[in-house]
């Protein structure tokens, strides 16, 4: 056995992990080699010293820090506050469930086609029942809804939380709940077909408002950041501005025609 091989095995020998055959070869070598015998004594001393190293003492103040952190209410994870419908959409849909959903859809279409009376006539009747004054009032109400939603979204988009700072969003939540009621009303009353773009925008806004309403009263950086990126990705502020411009055009055209008269 060479010294290099022997010294490689000394630590295992010290811990009695060597086989009997290996032990006898090592012991034979050590009895003839002062360097390797010294290496064994050094290792033994190192291990003895390591075992005797004193235990370090945790500072007394540490328990206070731990206890105060334990006293804080649990911070819920971001996925806990994501609306349930979002999680449902994210979940992979197994083949059986997908087949079942298609079957329900087909049955629904057949029922609608052959059993129920044609609805389009009913809708047309409802639309025709709304007077021009009612329609104008609805449009004003819709534009107020969009303006209020815009204010809310701009406010959230401008939030700049730092680190662990928690933000009180109770006002924003209450405002969203109010706007959600308005969205329900508008979706029900706005006539289909003519105001399709406005109806779509109201529906898109409703989803974001739902998310704000479902936030915890005190939210952290992650919640707000998620919401901000959602507002940015859906281009909602841009769409609201575009909708405002479209409304101004006919108003200006009417004013211009009035001056001509």
């Amino acid at each position: 056995m060479t010294c290099k091989n022997c010294q490689k095995r000394l630590s295992a020998y010290l811990d009695q992990e060597s086989s009997p055959a290996e032990r006898s070869v090592i012991e034979q070598h050590i009895s003839e080699c002062t360097d390797c015998a010294q290496a064994l004594r050094d290792l033994q001393m190192l291990v003895d010293q390591a075992t005797a190293l004193p235990q370090k003492h945790a500072p007394d103040r540490l328990w206070g820090r731990i206890a105060s952190e334990l006293d804080q209410p649990n911070v819920s994870r971001i996925h806990d506050t994501v609306p349930a419908w979002r999680n449902w959409l994210r979940r992979p849909m197994p083949v059986v469930q997908l087949g079942f959903a298609i079957a329900i859809l087909v049955v629904g279409m057949l029922v609608g086609r052959y059993i129920l009376p044609p609805q389009s006539d009913t809708l047309r009747l409802q639309v025709s029942q709304q007077s021009p004054a009612e329609l104008a009032a609805l449009n004003v109400r819709a534009s107020h809804y969009l303006e209020r939603s815009k204010m809310l979204l701009v406010g959230i988009a401008n939030l700049e939380p730092h680190g662990d700072e928690r933000i009180d969003l109770s006002l924003e939540k209450a405002y969203s709940v109010d706007l959600l009621r308005e969205a329900d009303f508008l979706q029900e009353k706005l006539p289909a077909g003519k105001n399709e773009r406005l109806r779509r925008l109201v529906a898109e806004l409703e989803l974001v408002l739902l998310e704000i309403a479902n936030l915890e009263a005190e939210s952290d950086f992650e919640h707000v950041d998620l919401l901000k990126s959602g507002i940015e990705q859906t281009d909602l502020l841009f769409k609201i501005n575009l909708s405002g411009l479209n409304e101004e055009k006919p108003a200006k055209a009417t004013a211009a025609s009035g001056r001509q008269l």
Binding site: D15, L43, K56, A58, L62, I66, A67, L70
Partner: protein, 207 residues
Amino acid sequence: MSIFSAFRRSTSPPNDNPSTKDADQELVVRCSSGERSAQFQLYEKYKDSVYSIAFRMANDSQVAEDIVQDVFIKVFKNIGSFRGDAAFSSWLYRITSNVCINHFRKAKRWKALVSNGYFETQTETHQAPDAARQTELAPHLEHAIRQLPEGYRMVFVLHDVQGFRHEEIGAMLNIAIGTSKSQLHKARRELRQLLSPILEMQRALSH
């Protein structure tokens, strides 16, 4: 007596007797219902051993304190998920090693971003032992342990300093027992290399 019979090492893992397990189990049950005095008793019992591991691994007392805090917060918040199949201490030390490893990962990422400052300052705070203690091995050993690569250091601290068995270390670090043994043997060889001038000085003085 043969020279070889002197090389025997008794390994008794900390807190591994049945009465300790029972006492811990009782405290664990009380902690599960959020009893603060039971949490304090468990903390008092294990704080120094957790702090010792964290301190020797982290190279910094402030970081060691943060690690201890993280460990006990994790323990008390998740104590309901502790099934009691193994000893509480095994679970605690497994969390300790995980928190230490996570700390190193974060520190490495941070170090990659910040090439100077924080880390250099930290190592400066650990000077080699002063002249008056030149021939004492223990302070040099503490210093040398901090020079070991993280993997070697973790196994050496757990086995030789804290007295855990390779089976326990394997479970804590999620590594094979053989890996734990080989890391330990390499750590000891490396330490002997690092401490060879001191060991030679000691030999010269003893003659």
